[in-house]
Symmetry: C2
Subunit: 794 residues, 2 copies
């Protein structure tokens, strides 16, 4: 039935209605209403909705789409598809591509989505099990010239959609054009290089873009081990002069740990408002560009993890207002407020001086040394760095005013001046520091007030005594507080005006991301799977186990002739106190345990023996598309070529050897493949506790990070309560424990005896390298060099 005929028919009915002269009025009215509704929905379906089942149908539908068209992707897996969605919708009649059922349309394999035109909407897709063939998973353009405007990606999920190699960079959402929106999406699990979301400003068609990144849930992004792991990047240094006007608002950032910058604002006039940064190991950084507004955000830490950061400032004219910081104890780059030193007349891609910044009406609860100035100063390194790398330009014309600090336990160092804050004006700031002295009282005034619990993690000061409010230039534009209350009538210092505080339920995940997806995982107890010595049983049982399960080895000797593949979290342990013994008879150069993407092996109380030419543990040389992990506790490891061999572009969050004896191996723990000198490294935390190393000839511990880079601040090496004897005799560089470039190193309470090396370790004094209480006999010494010469990355 055509729409025309339908119209005719309903008109006819109306005529009839009048003809029967208002008889049985109610019934007829209801009939007409039903007719009308069904006509409308029928018309909609027929005229506007197009159900498509494959890419050819999709392309056809796109090419014939008109304003108002809805292209419906059939439920199921869409494998290896490259969507090009171009069209010209209108404000009132956009063109939409949506899932038949939101969350039931899976984009997998080598797939991507490109959008260009005006008023286009993408709704309800799930990207997983694959990666993009291009530089981005979702791009708001289809070619250099054809960008999207007034378009929207909503209610979608991108999960673990990683390239096969860590060094193959991509972006998951790349903005071009203007007035585009990414909203109500869940995006998590990026392990390869490249920001998760980037706004691109190259070309006049993408400036003053007013993009909106709102109401999303940015789920966990694991530590990447080096740079290029931002969750959102707004432009780049090359477009840092451009007005962007992008808004990032009302998002939840949960465990966004990719690198030191969660959001890297690199253009002008961006606004970062009302987001929640929850246990995210990084900061909001105004890396390039100027005049950002960072207003009304929550930074939630735990008082333990020093990697959770706050706001780090570079450049001019930013306004940091109405923010709430809870238990953020990050230091230096990661301090709650880190105001950096700039490089005088900085090159475009380095550090401009901080000027004309306002930090006002913020509240800090139980943070450590919340205000740090001169962050990044490296005047001492002027002998090892060129002049154009020396950050000596202190903040100018900056105001810190109307802020409140509360500490349950007094903090003696509220302000840390890595370099003098003499260009900063402090006005009307107060603190309750439990009467502990905290330095300069002209900058912050001690005051007595208590906190009120408003919600989970949210405690707000209830002021009782009088307080001054400083009125700086333009402060009259700060009209609202953290909760959106007006500051007009009953203003106060701190993030929230005094009065009734209401719980804003900031961690209610239902408020963020796709409506159909939750990342809340129910705890399930692991299965314990007993394994006997029967040939092949061990590998078979591991293969069929579920993630989290425990493989329990009955006592005895297990002969393994082929590498055992680990691609999930698995624990292998001896059932009895007596160690089960695994003897590896596999080929030379192969590993006993092959750690694959997602493979996290927890090995307890087991003895491993090789033939001297294999590896105990190794990961994949290629296609290591996700991370792995290894914890070895109470084990014996004998007679391997390598204890652990990690390949380039592989990364583990943690590698731990505890209570373990390693003997008669050619190489020890080898994590030194990232030789690009771009700041990358192979493991975030390497821990050696209470272990013995005997007769390990070279690379006893070899852990490397290369490149001068002030902003990658890992990895972490702890070597403690361990003993090393007769090791390192074949080590070419004459150093027993190689730690070059690693930022955090602690070597303490160890015994080094009869190791034929020049040095036990060469530590980097300017970084967080330390050693203590080691007993060194006939093994050279530990040397500390203040400023290691590193290759410049920029």
């Amino acid at each position: 039935m055509s729409y025309k005929y339908m119209y005719f028919w309903s008109t006819k009915l109306v005529n009839q209605y009048y003809q029967i002269q208002m008889k049985n009025k109610f019934l007829f009215k209801a009939f007409l209403l039903i007719m009308f509704i069904s006509t409308i929905s029928w018309v909609n379906k027929d005229k506007n909705d197009v159900l498509v089942h494959n890419i050819a149908e999709f392309d056809e539908a796109v090419s014939s789409a008109e304003p108002g068209t809805v292209i419906v992707l059939a439920n199921g897996i869409w494998n290896n598809v490259q969507f090009k969605f171009t069209g010209e919708g209108t404000k009132n009649a956009p063109i939409t591509v949506k899932a038949e059922t939101p969350g039931k349309v899976f984009i997998e394999g080598i797939s991507n989505l490109e959008i260009s035109g005006n008023y286009l909407i993408v709704d309800g897709l799930f990207f997983r099990n694959g990666h993009t063939p291009t530089e981005n998973v979702i791009a708001f353009r289809t070619s250099e010239e054809n960008v999207a405007n007034y378009s929207r990606v909503t209610n979608c999920v991108i999960l673990d959609y990683n390239q096969q190699q860590r060094d193959k960079d991509d972006l998951w959402v790349q903005f071009y054009g203007t007035h585009n929106t990414l909203d109500h999406c869940y995006i998590a699990g990026k392990t390869n290089g490249g920001p998760t979301v980037r706004v691109d400003l190259k070309g006049n068609q993408s400036i003053r873009n007013y993009h909106q990144i709102v109401d999303n849930h940015f789920g966990p992004r694991p530590r990447k081990g080096g740079a290029r792991g931002e969750t959102i990047q707004l432009g780049s240094s090359f477009t840092s002069m451009s007005p962007s006007n992008t808004t990032i608002a009302n998002n939840l950032f949960e465990e966004c740990n990719g690198e030191v910058e969660i959001i890297s604002s690199k253009t002008n006039f961006n606004e970062i408002r009302n987001n929640v940064f929850y246990k995210s190991e990084g900061s909001v950084v105004t890396r390039h560009g100027n005049y950002a507004v960072i207003d009304g955000n929550y930074f939630i830490g735990d008082g333990e993890n020093k990697n959770y950061g706050g706001i780090r400032l570079v450049n001019t004219g930013h306004w940091v207002i109405n923010n709430y910081f809870y238990k953020i104890i990050g230091e230096n780059f990661r301090s709650p407020l880190a105001v950096m030193n700039g490089i005088p007349k900085s090159p475009l891609n380095r550090y401009n001086q901080v000027t004309d910044v306002v930090v006002a009406y913020n509240t800090y609860v139980d943070c450590k040394s919340p205000w740090q100035f001169g962050v990044g100063t490296n005047i001492e390194q002027k002998d090892v760095l060129p002049e154009s790398e020396i950050r000596s330009a202190r903040a100018l014309r900056t105001e810190v005013a109307n802020n409140i600090i509360y500490n349950s336990i007094g903090d003696e160092h509220i302000i840390i001046e890595h370099d003098k804050a003499d260009g900063v004006k402090f006005k009307s700031n107060i603190i309750n520091n439990q009467e502990i002295s905290f330095g300069d009282t002209t900058r912050i005034k001690a005051s007595e007030f208590q906190l009120t619990k408003v919600g989970e993690y949210v405690y707000l000061p209830k002021l009782t005594s009088e307080f001054d409010i400083y009125q700086g230039f333009g402060f009259n534009t700060i009209t609202k507080d953290l909760f959106g209350n007006s500051r007009e009538d009953k203003n106060s210092i701190g993030a929230v005006v005094q009065g009734e505080f209401k719980d804003t339920d900031i961690l209610n995940k239902a408020k963020y991301g796709a409506s159909w997806y939750s990342n809340i995982v129910k705890n399930t107890s692991p299965n314990i799977i007993e394994v006997s010595k029967t040939k092949g049983e061990l590998a078979a049982k591991i293969a069929t186990a579920k993630a989290g399960d425990i493989i329990s080895l009955k006592p005895g000797k297990y002969k393994v002739s082929k590498s055992i593949l680990i691609n999930k979290t698995i624990t292998i342990q001896s059932k009895e106190n007596e160690k089960a013994e695994i003897v590896f008879t596999g080929a030379d150069n192969t590993p006993l345990f092959e750690l694959n993407p997602y493979g996290i092996l927890n090995l307890k109380n087991v003895s491993l023996t090789g033939n001297g030419k294999q590896k105990a543990f190794s990961n994949l040389k290629e296609n290591m598309s996700n991370q792995y992990g290894l914890t070895v506790t109470g084990c014996d490891i004998n007679n391997f070529d390598y204890v652990l061999k990690a390949y380039k572009q592989t990364f583990a969050q943690e590698i731990t050897f505890k209570d373990t004896a390693i003997a008669d191996c050619e190489n020890g723990i080898e994590l030194s493949e990232e030789t690009n000198d771009k700041g990358d490294y192979n493991v975030e935390y390497l821990t050696i506790q209470n272990c013995t190393f005997t007769n390990v000839n070279q690379n006893v511990i070899d852990y490397y990070r290369g490149g001068y880079d002030e902003s990658t601040i890992g990895g972490n090496l702890l070597v403690t309560n361990s003993s090393f004897s007769n090791c390192g005799s074949k080590e070419e560089n004459g150093i027993l424990l190689n730690t070059r470039g690693i930022v955090n190193v602690d070597i303490s309470n160890n015994t080094f005896k009869n190791n034929n090396v020049k040095l036990v370790a060469l530590l980097w004094g300017a970084k967080n390298n330390s050693h203590a209480d080691n007993v060194i006999t006939n093994s050279g010494q530990i040397k500390v060099e203040e400023n290691l010469k590193m290759k410049l990355m920029y």
Copy 2:
């Protein structure tokens, strides 16, 4: 009579009016009207106008001023006054400081004006005969914190208000705050360092300022001889990230020759609209900052002077539209359109790459090589310059579209690519090049069309054949043409839409500047004043002569025992063919002619003789508050210590020796005092034509400019048809003609004989240095060094 009583009285009258019951209506009405008017004006005078006669009265008036108050400065000379004008006017009732009679209030001596507050107006003042004791003559602030907003300086003149030394920099108008206006002012004659007008953006109180610099007449600013001679500078590199939003519109720039930049835009979002650049030796330059709009300006040259420039672009996002260029033949930096190469990742104060620029709808009439790209490339100099000085980054994402070029005489090189323009898109440009081939016809299309004379210097193309209009991104925002006509209905390429062209009378000076001041000078014929040998008569007659007069020397020998002061334009010549002879018997080290500020001496056909220890010509060692000049024609100069000795911080536009014999002097022409190496030099044009130098021991010609600076492009030395013999024997550096650092040097058709030097000259190959047809005998040689090592200025 109080206002109250007046009110009472007039009310009473009204009552009387009604009492006499409408009798003699007309007469009474007239009486009432007169009463009303006189009451109003009397009230105004009494309540709002305050006539002040000295600074104490002024201060008093300012301190008690209210919205609507008018402070009237009494006519006369206000000497050594520092006006601080602070107040809080309102939009409808500003506070005004005005001249009793515009132009009759002279601010002289060591005086200045500072303004702060809101809605303040300054009207009708004349700054002359003095200089400021501070860094600015008029400042829109009274202290670092107290700036002016919504305030205005109008109908004022600042003339020759120079510091005593050229190196003592100041500004004549310095903007702070926001929404201030400089309009209808005449400003001319600045010779000391520092831009005439500067907008300052340090501090949030001065960004997004929306200042207006409109309807002014910027009269002649002489060549300064080095940098820091801009007419208007908008911010500085240190605030180049800030939004300025300053408008410079409807001004006349006449002979603004201070340096290569007439307007130096160094911040963002500035607008330069509908100005006339008339015979001004410089360009409008987007030196720092981005997104400038240069719309609808006239650049008027003469086809002869290569120093008249157009628009030079650095940085991102500028729009150059609707501009008209007439007979601009400047080269390279001064070409009509000069698109510079940037330094990759440039330091803040150097050259950012050009990106995202639009050059559209402009018209070029009889310009030479109007489009030049890669301007400033210095890749060849990478051996003598650090990497951070190498301009190798070519323009990117730049569009040149919808432009029209007309040449009466065909030009073979319309586009000059100093470096490749491969990042530039050319669209819909046309040219009438008189059928002369001009290179790449894909970039510009040959077309036949003629010009129509619209007004003085304004000739516009009348298109007859079809033309395409390119629609680039955002081109729809170009809604008007040069004349303000709508582009909507009858659009065209070029600066003006096709149709009726009307004369906009761009050089009618009555349209610009102060209503009461004109810089048009009537030509008057000089007096010829005869002088005899009578002792003291020469000096006396010169002292009483008027500028421009001619002193005519009767034949004979004039004994002069004291320096003759020259402080105006004066010609001294022999009355008869026979040279009058001036014998100087003054003290050692004193000059025969002491050239003072404004002193321009034209000496013809006279013989000068000293005792070997004096100077023939010299200027002042101190307080050389304005420029001087010297032309010597057909003279003999013998037996001086110096022919010419120019001191530091002194400057002449031109120094010329013609047909003159110089003999037996210890030093020749010495112009080498500017040893700061900041780009300064002592004379713009030094010309030696048809002269003989005999027995001049050192500094025969010594002319120096120091400092690596790509943007000072003087001085100019011409040595031609002259002979040098037995000179330079005491010259320490062994070079006869010292030209180090001088950009334009031409040494040709000279004879060098028996000069005991190593080199006649050491020329700078990379710059415009040349030599030809010289005969060199027993005098060393002329050497050319391609890249001279110079001290870096930045």
